[in-house]
Amino acid sequence: MPLEEYPMSLAFDSINVGDALPSLALPPITRTMLALFAGASGDHNPIHIDIDFARRAGLPDVLAHGMLSMAWLGRLLTNWAPQRDLREFGVRFTTVTQVGERITCTGRVAKKVLRDGERLVQIEVKATNDAGEVKVAGDALIALR
């Protein structure tokens, strides 16, 4: 398989606050995706995979794993810069995500900072549905040369 290269332009001096990362559009969430993610991630909480359990808990349906959206935001970041340069990555899960919703991950350079002798960019990231509702929002710190 060919190895995808990272853009040569990813140097600290050529990055500007406000620059957007290439967005990542995901297919609509299916129960299969949630079942696979439950098994792969080890989060077997039935609220994500068992509609009977979800209904007993007073919900109309299962909820998508917040960590699935965070993993997609992680892909947004590692599509842009190598993972070895990722220093921090944090999110808040602001709204629950339902089966059938289609998530798009976006990011932009919020700040350029120097810390412990490293040149870092702070990236603001968010996962939104088609209506523009923010499901997950957070930030990442990435070291650049």
Binding site: M1, P2, L3, E4, L26, P27, M33, L36, F37, G39, A40, S41, G42, D43, H44, N45, I47, F53, R56, A57, G66, M67, L68, M70, A71, W72, G74, R75, L77, T78, N79, P82, Q83, R84, L86, R87, E88, F89, G90, V91, R92, F93, V96, G138
Partner: protein, 147 residues
């Protein structure tokens, strides 16, 4: 109401194997298409000694227990009343297929927000690899719906 005396409580450490097949399954589950996450040859070409674990996989190692939610149900919390409020990772070194990691967690804080009927439980976790190198720290915010 969660008893605040749980603050500072250490959760028994556990070890977990980072398996290549598990990383491939995780990559499939998140739709990962970059070859270095699924193909050893591509991983080597990208400078990795083995398949790397994607950024959020560290949390999966924390869940690698017979009952990963026991620490919170032991505090009298109903798992059906729990939401994941937030998660933050700090990375110090890569995690690779073949690693054997040790996971240590503690209950860092419990905040009651009576007005909203919610409690927030903060869990801090540290992961070290088989060489004794700290690879990641995590801070989880768990929301407990109390009313």
């Amino acid at each position: 109401m969660i008893d605040r005396s749980h603050i500072g409580k250490e959760i028994a450490p556990h070890t977990a194997e980072v398996e290549a097949g598990r990383l491939r399954l995780f990559a499939k589950a998140i739709g990962e298409t970059r070859p270095e996450y699924v193909d050893e040859v591509a991983a080597h070409a990208a400078g990795h000694p083995a398949l790397p674990a994607p950024p959020t996989f560290a949390l999966c190692l924390d869940l690698e227990l017979p009952d990963p939610f026991k620490w919170i149900t032991d505090m009298g919390v109903d798992i059906a009343r729990v939401l994941h409020g937030g998660e933050r990772f700090r990375y110090f070194a890569p995690i690779y297929a073949g690693d054997r990691v040790t996971v240590r967690s503690r209950v860092a804080d419990i905040l009651q927000k009576k007005s909203s009927g919610k409690a927030f439980v903060i869990k801090e976790t540290e992961i070290t690899n088989q060489h004794g190198v700290k690879v990641a720290e995590m801070r989880a915010t768990i929301v407990v719906l109390e009313s």
